[in-house]
């Protein structure tokens, strides 16, 4: 009896906590997005909030912006992170493991910087009167502040994209580096015997090996940027705002009537990320099945 129930008992505290605090919160929010507020005497369900959202142009503008920003951030971070991981891996191969740990530590620095600070660093660097604009002026590229492109608090979201590309690239490289280190030195030698140069070797061996870890890491970055609040709030514009900021604006607008809408935005956001998660999970499972390792 004990042996059979042991795993469940061991899991009970963690599962209980997550179910109560997290799924309880989701469920609570879901009920309220349907207009169920017993405290206000509203005990019937309706989908007014969802209907209003789907017919409002503000919601769709926000959705498009959020998707674009999350997509570009994760793609840039993925490319930069892979370049970092491959460079570090090549360095380790050429030096037989010596001297690469200092480089590792250096590149993890942006990971430890809180997001708010990361966002502010991008503001100081890229705003029109920022550090890069000063450098460009002194080098004679531009003459007035207005000539420097608007990259912070712009409606396209460049500031947000730059912040996340910078902050999440080390995360991606941290996720794929352990997978790369499973590649044996002998594989390089074999590939050389078959006449592969360095570039062939990267394309035919290194990239396929890191692919599953790479997609998962990129997906995590996508989901994270899709649902992040702090950086889009700091570096974005009031309209259009990303979905989490939009939800926050509705939630704190003062009127209780907007709250079901805010919570409906959240539920849509959460459903979207879950859906994406299932797709990536399915793709990855097939990959691992084909390759025979995970």
């Amino acid at each position: 009896m004990w042996q059979k129930n042991k795993p469940y008992l061991l899991l009970l505290p963690a599962i209980g906590t997550i179910v109560l605090l997290f799924f309880g919160g989701l469920f609570d929010g879901f009920l309220k997005s349907l207009g169920y507020f017993p405290a206000l005497g509203q005990t019937d369900f309706n989908i007014t909030a969802y209907r209003q959202l789907f017919s409002s142009s503000e919601f769709w503008a926000s959705f498009n912006l959020t998707f674009r920003v999350a997509f570009l951030s994760s793609v840039f971070a993925a490319v930069l992170g892979a370049a970092l991981a491959i460079s570090l891996f090549m360095l380790k191969e050429s030096t037989n493991g010596k001297s690469s740990s200092i480089w590792h530590r250096l590149f993890q620095l942006p990971l430890t910087i809180p997001h708010l600070v990361g966002g502010y660093i991008i503001v100081l660097l890229f705003m029109q009167s920022g550090f890069l604009s000063r450098i460009a002026t002194n080098l004679g590229f531009i003459d007035t502040i207005a000539e420097f492109p608007v990259l912070v608090n712009d409606s396209f979201g460049w500031g947000i994209i730059l912040t996340y590309a910078w902050k999440e690239a080390p995360f991606i490289s941290l996720m794929i580096y352990p997978v790369l280190s499973r590649i044996h030195q002998s594989w390089r030698d074999v590939s050389r015997i078959f006449g592969a140069n360095r570039w062939n070797y990267i394309r035919e061996i290194v990239v396929p090996v890191m692919m599953p870890a790479w997609t998962i890491a990129t997906f995590i970055v996508f989901v994270f940027t899709f649902s992040a609040f702090e950086v889009p709030f700091l570096l974005g514009v009031t309209y259009p705002s990303t979905l989490p900021v939009y939800s926050y604006q509705l939630y704190t607008s003062g009127t209780l009537a907007d709250r079901p809408e805010a919570l409906a935005v959240n539920i849509i956001l959460a459903s979207f990320t879950v859906l994406l998660g299932l797709v990536v999970y399915a793709i990855n499972k097939r990959w691992n099945a084909v390759k025979g390792w995970d």
Partner: protein
């Protein structure tokens, strides 16, 4: 290209400069500037006014540092207690519904935790948990716990059950088996999980703001108004302090772990 090692080192050095050093230059300069006119690359006047305000002038700073660390440490301690048994169950057993258990525990990585926090806000209000440190601690658990479980699971994967059986044969009871065999092996995983948990807890703004209602002042809450349009010098000084605090905490954990291993190897030798 003749010597690939030199080539790689040059690329890495350029990346280090562009990604790790350059971004911090304006932050440091701004924190020491006074009326820094565009397009000067260096501030005309170096002033420690902002640092003076941040470190000595405003009493809120050190209190906020204390509250932030207190919350992060309580959250991490609770996470360790919840995650060790959970990781044990997930790594060492196969049982019905395991995938569901994993899905529940790792869900907060995929589903943004602020969604749950906004949903539970009114219930917390009713229970009197808003504006309290306990409320904020509870709100920080779901975004951090999955990472702690993951880190400890990795440690459990390399811990064979034979070691514990061996200890049992030598007469160790369940408590000493855990403290002498299991815990030392899990320690690196626990430290890795704790680092992540502390880092995530420290940098939360929205969740802390919703549940703390501005009454629980962590460093993120204190910093926010300054960086969203306040005095740039003070904002930069606070940002550096905040980043420094995060880095110091992680380094501290690293040093503690190393000390522990040194102590251990000395014990075994002596």
């Amino acid at each position: 290209m003749k010597n690939p090692l030199v080539f790689i080192k040059i690329i890495l050095s350029v990346l280090v400069f562009l990604l790790m050093l350059l971004p911090f230059v304006p932050l440091i300069l701004t924190s020491m500037s006074f009326g820094w006119q565009w397009p000067a690359i260096l501030p005309e006047l170096i002033s420690f006014r902002a640092w003076d305000y941040v470190l000595f002038g405003s009493s809120g700073t050190w209190q906020a540092v204390g509250v932030s660390l207190l919350i992060a440490l309580i959250v991490t301690a609770v996470n360790v207690l919840l995650a060790v048994p959970a990781a044990n169950a997930l790594v060492r057993n196969s049982f019905r519904g395991k995938w569901l258990m994993e899905a529940i525990i790792f869900a907060p990585i995929i589903i943004p935790p602020f969604v749950a926090v906004m949903g539970i806000h009114l219930t917390f209000l009713k229970l009197g948990l808003t504006e309290t440190v306990i409320g904020v601690v509870l709100a920080h658990i779901s975004p951090t716990l999955p990472y702690m479980v993951r880190a400890i699971m990795i440690s459990y994967q390399t811990l064979s059950i034979d070691w514990e059986d061996q200890a049992r044969m030598l007469g160790a009871g369940p408590i000493s088996r855990f403290t002498l065999v299991v815990l030392p092996h899990l320690l690196p995983g626990i430290v890795a999980g704790a680092s992540l948990s502390i880092l995530i807890s420290l940098s939360q703004y929205l969740i802390t703001f919703i549940i703390g209602s501005g009454q629980v002042v962590t460093l993120s809450i204190l910093l926010f108004p300054f960086i969203s349009g306040g005095d740039p010098a003070i904002a930069s000084a606070y940002s550096l302090l905040f980043a420094g605090m995060a880095i110091m905490t992680l380094l501290g954990l690293d040093v503690l772990l190393k000390k522990y291993y040194q102590q251990k190897s000395r014990d075994t030798l002596g």
